[in-house]
Every structure is written in C-alpha cells, then in structure tokens.
Symmetry: D2
Subunit: 368 residues, 4 copies
C-alpha cells in the first residue's frame, strides 16, 4: 500500500530510511507562483535536527536540503517540487546487532510481520528521521498559509509531570529552550526531570500542543472528511503519538452539555464564540475560533535499562540497547506537528474553494 503519500490536491510523497543514501519528499500540487528558496525549508529542518542541546543526541545530522525541481527563478512552477537531504554521517556499525532481535516499543517485529524482513539500520523507514521529508514539505505549506494570514504554532505542553503554565506563554521560548516549551520556568524544571530520568537509564513521554490562528470559518467537511478527523489522522501518523485531543479533548467525557457548549456571540460585528471548548471545529468544519490540538507522545522506546524481548529465532532474551537516544521525543517533534497540521490545512483550503456553486461559476466567468 502506498502509505508514504499524503494529501489530495496538495499531495506529498516522502521517502528514505535512517541509514540510506538520502531522504526526501516530492510535493505534487503546490500552487504556482509562490516565492520559495532552500532557506525557507532549511529553517524548518533545522528545528528538528538532533544535537542541538543536551536533550537530544549528539549525532550530527546535517540535513541540508536541496531543491531539485519545481522552482524556477525563485518561484514555484506548479509542477512537482522534489526536495532531497543527503544522509552524511550514518554509521551502520552502530545498529547491526539489532538485526537479530525485536526491540520493545519499536516497529522491528511488525515490519517483519508485514514485509517478511526489514532494513534494520537505525530503524530504517520507521526511524524518526523519516519525518525530515514531512518537515521539508510542511515548510512550503506553512509559507502558503502565512500568506493567507494563518499561523500554526506548536510547542511542548508537558514532559512527564512537568507542565507549561500558559499564563507565562512566551513564543520565543519555544524556539530557544531545549524542551520547546513556551514557559522558561517549566522548561528548566523539565530539564532537571529529564536529567534524572536519563540517570535512571529511562525516558519520558509528554504532550505536544498546537494552536492555529487565522483560519476562516467554513473549512473542512461533514461526515468522513471532518477537519478534526483529518488533523487527528495527521497527528497519529507521527510515530509515538498514542492519543489526540481537539479543544477540551478527553475532558468532554466528564462534562455536561451546559459546560461544554460554546455560546455564540457578536464580536466586532462578526459571529464569534465566548469560549472555545470545541477547539475551533463544529461538525467537522472550522468555526472561526483558533484551532486547539493536543498529541500525547509516548516515551522514547530506546532506553538503556535491560529489557526482555525475543530474537528472530523466537528465543526469549534480555537486551540492553546501546547508541545515542534522546530521553524524550517531544522537542524535535514540535516542528513535525506544525508540519502535519500545515499540510492538512492547506489541502482542506484548496479543496474548499469549490464548495459553493457561485464561487466556482464566478471564478471561471472572470478568468480570461
């Protein structure tokens, strides 16, 4: 199955393994005429690079993107944009041992069950490195959204028991703290917690959050292509995400209708809502309030504590994973979350242009 393809009009296909020659993505369906250069993409990729702080592995991944097609004289041409990132510093020797057994919490066993064998070097296609292609494509989607006045902002909401206090929200902190938290104080406490966790040869989960501002009302579809359904799929497609929430999320199951319903009101002459329990989506369609999304990320499965597992000969064994692994996935996943949200929104916006017959007819009557 063609599982590395995403989107309907703004469609992307990502490719590449952790330890292959290169990784990349092709974007088929980007509108023509968008100003685009490699630097636009590189700033996004740099946010998911490892080795940037004491919380991520000291591996050096250059992740330098090259635009191979689809851009001419600084603008997108409407034809496929091929983006490639050469793998420069992978050392296969680090990983050869894991060929013979199934790491707990990883996709080693399920890949074998599906395909009969696997590229075991660094997790192959199931490595977090797979997200480089998503981020490269997401940078383009985010640039288009920005031109429409739509911004997507993701950050680490919590790590283990340490939660960011949103009353101290500081956008700059997202990019400058090693945790990608928007609260510098919580970030320091989370760092201390992670230091302790590493000393215990363990890892920690956490919560990613994302806010979308500026999305007009009316985007998304009823029934199967609900905007929240597609955003939920987008987030659950990120490795290690085990739960997603829209607006009040899991709290709705304990709420009463009178608490959960958002009253409509008039603000500045426009229909608005006094509260946003719905997270900006009603009946699968955006309501003009900010989107609010959360993703629960499991702890890094590669831990240094000894673990029980089985080998490919179906023997029970004990293993101790080596190498360099982040104690927490979240800081580098923030930009992946932004990318998946941006890709989902741009496609929904493009598909929505023909929702009304009058817009469709007017579009072609005026076009020469």
């Amino acid at each position: 199955m063609a599982g590395s393809t995403y989107g309907t009009i703004f469609k992307i296909m990502t490719w590449g393994e952790s330890h292959g020659k290169a990784l990349g993505v092709v974007v088929d369906g980007c509108p023509a005429g968008l100003s685009l250069c490699e630097e636009d993409i590189q700033v996004y990729l740099d946010r998911r690079k490892p080795g940037q702080s004491r919380l991520s592995t000291p591996r050096r991944e250059d992740d330098t993107v090259e635009i191979l097609s689809g851009v001419f004289e600084g603008r997108t041409t409407g034809t496929p944009i091929s983006l490639m990132i050469r793998n420069t510093s992978q050392r296969s020797a680090d990983y050869s041992e894991i060929a013979s057994y199934y790491r707990p919490g990883h996709a080693d066993y399920t890949f074998d069950a599906k395909y009969g064998f696997r590229d075991y070097r660094g997790g192959g296609r199931s490595s977090g490195r797979e997200t480089a292609g998503r981020v490269a494509a997401g940078a383009i989607a985010a640039k288009l959204l920005k031109e429409m006045g739509i911004t997507v902002t993701a950050y680490t909401r919590s790590i283990g028991p340490i939660e960011a206090d949103m009353s101290r929200f500081d956008r700059d902190a997202i990019l400058s703290t090693p945790t990608a938290m928007p609260d510098r104080e919580a970030s320091l406490r989370a760092e201390a917690f992670l230091k302790e966790t590493m000393e215990e040869l363990d890892s920690s989960g956490g919560v990613l959050e994302c806010i979308v501002d500026g999305l007009p009302a009316g985007i998304g579809d009823p029934v199967f292509e609900k905007l929240d359904a597609n955003l939920g799929k987008a987030l659950l497609s990120i490795g290690a995400v085990k739960a997603v929430e829209i607006g009040d999320g899991v709290r709705v199951s304990k709420a009463k209708g009178s608490e959960n319903n958002d009253s409509f009101c008039i603000l500045d002459g426009r229909i608005s809502k006094r509260t946003n329990h719905a997270g900006g989506i009603l009946g699968g369609i955006s309501d003009g309030s900010p989107l609010l999304l959360r993703a629960h990320v499991k702890p890094t499965p590669s831990i240094f504590k000894p673990q029980n597992t089985v080998n490919t000969d179906k023997e029970e064994i004990s293993v101790q994973i080596k190498g360099r692994h982040d104690p927490v996935i979240l800081p580098r996943a923030v930009v992946v979350m932004e990318s998946m949200v941006a890709l989902t929104l741009i496609d929904a916006l493009m598909l929505n242009m023909s929702a009304r017959a009058e817009n469709l007819i007017r579009f072609y009557k005026k076009t020469p």
Copy 2:
C-alpha cells in the same frame, strides 16, 4: 469536497439527511461471494435505533434497510451494494424555528459558513441520523471480518463520572443495558446519573471503548497510513468525538519508557507481548495483540436549559431548544464505533494482500 466517501478498496459513500426522503449507503468494492441478506444488516441498524429505552428519544425510526443492488441469489456479486432506509416518521414542524439561529455546540453556523445555507430540518446532514449509512456498511465489513476470525466489540466505558468495572465485563450486557455498558452494576448507576442530568435539563459526555480480537500481526502501514492514524480518523469522523486514544492513550505522556514498553515473549510458540500498553499497534502496524481504542464523546449539545447564541441576522439572543433529545450520545454510538473500526480494518486487510512480492506472484501463478 467528496467528504461522504470512505475507504480505498472497500469504499463506501453515504447519503441522506435527517428529514429527507431516505438515507443510505453504496458499498463499492465488497468482494464477491459473501453470503448476505437484509437481516445481516438490520441487526446492526437496530442497535442504533432510538426509542429503545428511557435514555433515548421516543421518536420512532423504523430504519428498515432495503438491498437495492449488488446481491444475487444471496451472495454479493462484487459490484456496488446499494442500501436504502426510508425516512418514515420525520415531522419537519418540530425543527422550523432553528432555521433562524445557530444552536450552540451544533454545526448550524459552520454549515452556513461553508455552503452559504443549510438544510435546517433536524440538523440535515450533520444529524446523528447520518450514521445509519455507516452502520449498514459496517455490518457487511464486520461480517467479512468474522469469517476471518476477527471480532470488533465496542461498548460504553463510562458516562460522566460513572465508569464500567472491567473485572465485571459481561458481553451480553452491552446489548441489553440501556447504556451499552458491559457492567450491569455501573449501568444502573449511570442510568440514575442520567436521570438526574435530565432533570437538570442537561446532558452528559462519556467514553466509548473498542477491542479487536483476532487481527493478525502485520496489518497497516508505516508513515501516513498507520493503522492507528486511520482508526483515529475513523473515530474522530463520528460526530461529537473530541479525543481518541490507542492503548494506554493519554497515559503515555506521563509514563516512563520502562513502564510503557511492552516486552516481547513467546506464548504457544508464537511471538507475543506480556503487556499491551501499545494497544496492539507498533509503528502503525498491528502486532498481533488485541487492538484497544477509546473515543471521548462530548455531551449532547441539544439541552433544554436556556442558552445564549446569535441568530442569522447577527443578533445576540437567548434560546431554549425543544424537541426530543437523548441525554447522552453513547449508547447509540457504540455500533457506529464498531462499524467505523470494521470498515477501516477490512480496507487495511485488502490493501495488505500485496505487501509481499512472493504473495502477489504466488497468487497469480496459481490462479487459472
């Protein structure tokens, strides 16, 4: 956008509004040769019928399904199966008032924002009645799964603060209690809670849970078409679902790696897992353990308490919703959850048949 279409090979298209002439679904891609009759589908539809208990509205919806095509001499032919349910007892008079304002928590405003106007009778296409088509198609998917030894079991896990105790799990209770809980004692308490909620002119949310037994390892795809991503989309496409969890779900964000990783072991000569924090999916691919899914359902937005909102003339008003509305959505949504899970799994299984070259080649070498 074609938002009422679902699936890649086993593809369905649902149609119909709450107060239109009929509702239905066409199933395009069901394999040929499956024994199928109207009764197979009717038993599923009957589970989502209202008026079955004191927790659901006394409206009578006959929901009698008619097979219009695709079945010949008791077996599916491989061509589209068209299923129709006539609307028999809708009275438009009940709903005419809501044409002029936007109900809080409903899709009235977002439909207007998207399409410019809406079929306001009973919520039109955003009504819960839309799910009749999903359930009719889901019955066929579930029948196919059953032939492969795969069972999908959904139930109400909690309503407001009342949670089913899984140590008292009783499969029969799901079909016979008015709450669809698998624990008769919790169900009685939930009924009392709902009675109180109704007296307060309010409604309650709750949690749906679903277990899938018998799914082989190796189903689903890495990257965007992860099995959990598609199941998450399936559940979030059900109106009122605001969060989904796989396995440990939201608990992973507070867990450590050593707690969250499931150790592999050998059971009866086969690779298995000692625990199932992962909910049966690793790296987007099934691992042979049972799937475990949860959906958080918001309280029924139609409550009888007075609420503030705006009308279509952009005036702030106070409204009091009339009519007959369930105090909780969950009991009737249980079979919708089963249906969406079944539809998602059957498609994944069909797509997976060609995952290995050897299977593809052998299939056609042996076929005459």
Copy 3:
C-alpha cells in the same frame, strides 16, 4: 476494487444491475447552491431511454428519477445527492438461458473469471442500463458547466459506412432523428442501412463525436492527469467503445509536423489558433479552442445469427440469442458520452481553482 466510483472532488458512485430493484448514483462533492430539480435530470435520462424509435428495442423502461437527498428548497446543499431509478418492467424469464453459457462479445465470461459467478439477468452490472446512473449525474455536471458558459454536444458521426456531412450540421436533428445524427439526410440513409442489417440478423458499429465550446484555456494537468487522458478514460469506460481520438486523432500518425501544428494567432485581441488539429488540448491542458473528441463504438454483440461459443461446463456449443436488442448502440450512447465528458470537465475545473498561489491567497483573504 471500487470500480464504480468516478471523480476526485465532484465524485460519483453508480450502482444497480439491469434486472435488480433499482439503479442509481450518489453525487458526493457537488457545490452548494445550484438550482436543481428532478426535471433537470429527467430530460437527460429520457435521451437514453429505449423504445423511442424503430432503432431501439420496444422494451419500455420508465427511468423515472427520484432525488432522495442533497437538495433542499430547490437548491443543492453541498452534501451527497442520491438519485434512484426504479426498475419497473424487467422480466427475468427472458434471460435465464444465458446463465449456462458465455455470449460472444459480452462480459459473461470475464465476470465469471473475476468474481467466480455473475448476475446473469440481462447482463447484470455489465448491461447498458448501468449508464443510467452516469447520465443522471452527468445532467448535474452539465447544468453547472452551462452556468459557466460551457456546452457539451455529442452526436452520432457515423453508423457503419454512413457518415454525417458536417456541412449540413443541424443541432436539432441530434435530438429528433432516431440515429442522433446532426445530418437528417445521412440519418435517413443510416436508417435504411440498419434495416438491412437487422434483416441480416446482424448489428453495426459507428462513431460518436463530441464538441465542447466555451472551455477556458488552462484546464487540465501535465503528465498523468492530462485533460485528454482523463477524457479518453471517460470515453473508454463506456461499454463497447474500442478507440478514442482527440482532434485529428488517428490521422496524426500519417501527418507531417507542418500539417499537424496549429499556428497561434490573435483574434479579437485574444490568443487563438487558426486551425484545431490538436482538438483544443496541448500538453494535456486546454488551449481555449473547442474540444473535439471521437469514440469508436463496436457493433451490438447481441445478434440473432447463430454463433459458436462455450458453456459453463466447457463444452463448445452453438447458440442463437433471443430477446430484443438494438441493432446499433450509438443513438442511446450519445447522452452517455455527453455525461462522461461533463463529469470529467467539472472535476478538472474544480481542481484547477488552486493552480495559482495568487488565486488561492486572494480567495481566502476576501472570504469573510
């Protein structure tokens, strides 16, 4: 495989067999706000009805369409439009014999090879009656196109050796002659030819032609989704079509570049072409000239002459087909051709709205 689904944004799913309870189509993705009533669709269906002249079978098919959903107060709502046509006069007795053997030129054998068995009554899903759903959906697409000033006109260009003389082109003749030829004189000669053919217990092929006026330049895509590629698929999906031509079609293979190239020129201040060998499409994208398409239709395979074939027990036998069969397929296929072209164009137009970044950005900046 979901082979009865067509389109990306304007998506349809057709269903129904020759002798089932009903036939129909669901249109998922029609823009909201289009004025639509059953009569709009009925006029298209009436053009494919049999029994209208001495060239088509005296069977009476009422083909009365019912709109079951998606239209409210005379306008499309943007949600799925379900259209149903009850089968009223099918007599299964006429067809029971063919269950035991494979008719030459029909899909009896290939259905068995694919599905293991078939609904043999009247050809089941491979009957020409399958096109009723296409025409019902095509009527909606054509109505949308007309609002944009785009007209699709198909007609019979030739029957056997008798060809319409385009210098006598008479649009009214298409709807009023039994051959659907635009040349009354050729039509009379074709009728005489068909009378003779029927007396020989034989049937005849012919050529359908279609002209599209008013399509703006710039519609369609390079590479795989070329407008001519999609139109070609649309026409080859009509049963009995064995060749398609765009513009000069098969003549290009004998032409020189200097003959085949159309010179660009300026007409009324706009870029135009002096000739139209290309049939209105260059590089897969419309060039503003009329589209010109041809489909070669094979003779009706049901002929009354004795024929050799095999039965389901793999014995060679001689058969003589009974029943009522048109000596030529074309007159009733004209409106099917128009429908498939209209469906293909409306989808291409909707997809094209986001081809330029400036249009996408402007659309959402102006939308409230």
Copy 4:
C-alpha cells in the same frame, strides 16, 4: 492538482524538468522482497536515451539512475523507492529565445494559461524528458510482471506511410533498429522516409503498438475502472499521443456484429477465443487472450520550417525553431509505452487480489 502521481496501490510520483538539476520518481507501494538493482532500471532508461542513432538528437543525456531508498541488501523493502537521474549536459542558452513566444504544437501557451508563467528551458516539465521517471518506475513494474509470466512488448508499428509487416515480426529488431520497428525491411524504408522528411525541415507521426502476453483472465473492473479505460488513459498521458485503440480499435465502427464478436472455444482444456478482435478485454476485464493496444503519435512539433505564431506580448510573429530535435518521437517512446502499460497492469493485479471473498478469507486464515 497533483497531476504527476499515478496508481492506487503501486503508486508513483514523477518529478523534474528538462533543464533542472535532476529528474526522478518515487515508487510508493512496491511489494517487499523483489530483487532489484540499478542495472534493472538502467536497461530501460537506456532505451529512451537520445543520441543512439541518426534518428534521434545528438544531445548526450547520460541518464544514469541512482537508487536512493527502498532497497536493502538487493531487495525492495516495501517502503518508497526513490530513483534519481542527474541532468548533466543541459545548456540553457539553447532555449532562452523561446521564453518570449509560444511554439506551435507545444504546451508553452497552455502552461502560461494555467500557471501564469512557465519554466521555458527545454519545455520544462512538458518536455519528453519528463518520461525518464515513468520509465524508471516502469522497469520495476515490468520486473514484477515478468516474475508472474506476463510480458509487455511495444514497438513502432508505422512511421508516416511506412508500416511494419507483422508476418516478418522480429523481436530483436525492436531493440536494434533505429526506428524500433519489428520488421527490418520496413525500418529501412522508414529511415529513408525520415531522411527525406528532415531534408524538408519537417517531422512525421506514427503508430506505436503493444502486445501483452500471459495476463490471466479476470483482471480489471466493470464500469469506470475498465482495464481498457485505464490503459487508454495511460497511453494518452504520454505527450503527443492523440488516439488509442484496443484490439480492432477504429475498425469496429465500420464492422458488423458477426464480424466483430470473437467466438469462445476450448483450447487445451481451457476457455479461449478463436479470434481477438476485442484485444483481450471484454466489458473492461481481461479475457485471457493477449492484450493488443495502439497509440497514434503526432509528428514532433519542433520543426525547422518557418512557422506563424504569437509572442507573449500578443503580437503575431514568424519563428524558426533551432536546436536539435528528433524528426519522429516514436523510437524513444516505445519504452515509455511499455512502462505505462506495465504500471497500469501491476496496479490492476494488486487491486484484484481481493475481488473474491474466498481469496481474502483464505489469505488471512493461512497467514501466520
């Protein structure tokens, strides 16, 4: 619109312009376990290279393919296979003049109409070089087909008035003659004809033909996804193809039913046909006979004769195209035809695996 994506399960995305940095394709959905190396792909690419004979341009395109992902230890892993071909010898200087006007018979004007501007270097994305990605992917599809005993053989059937005599069919001649004709004598005459055509500063069209042997009966779908409809789309998506024929093709429109119907018979105990007017497809589904397809290719639009056209300032001008251009497209398009047919067939075969419920059920019951 994502027009550079092809296929449902075996899905490809091609990218790259004539004068960009590179061209390529990503194959998402290739089954795991197929033995594959760069040489397998290179032999296909070499067949479309220019500069191989006096009929193709002396430009040197190295077209050396690099496998960047999806192959591990010599076998496909089931994850995306990224293939890249660096552009090494393009000189933009040759093409800068054409930025200012629209070449007759080319997509210059239609690209501007769609996208607002274009990459004018060497035709950009509408160049024949775009097909390199198709051929690279087609090589993989063809290798899979070969393992199932299915062979796809395309060749030049005619160039201008010179037609290959099929009674002299010589498979080796296809690869060794400069015309890719299977008849050495006709090839010599075609070469003489093309020499003359070049001296007249002109170009010629021709006919490509393709035979598929070994395809089992039962592949393809009724209604919209007919095998011939998809093959027709595949061929019409090749630039310069203006007509396609299946089996007897255009001849069916002049045929009688008694001539066109193929009688079924028993050969070696299997159901077969005495003739093959149908070209191996009945009702959209393969019938077990060889597939027979033809594509009519227009003359190279780049001719050296002076031509009238308009410039981007909407002035009528006369132009004389320079550079190096083949007098006929066909010899290098033969392998493109094979590739598109192979890609279409492999996808149809994969989709067909679940056509029967018994196969689906048996597949998963036996799989561990």
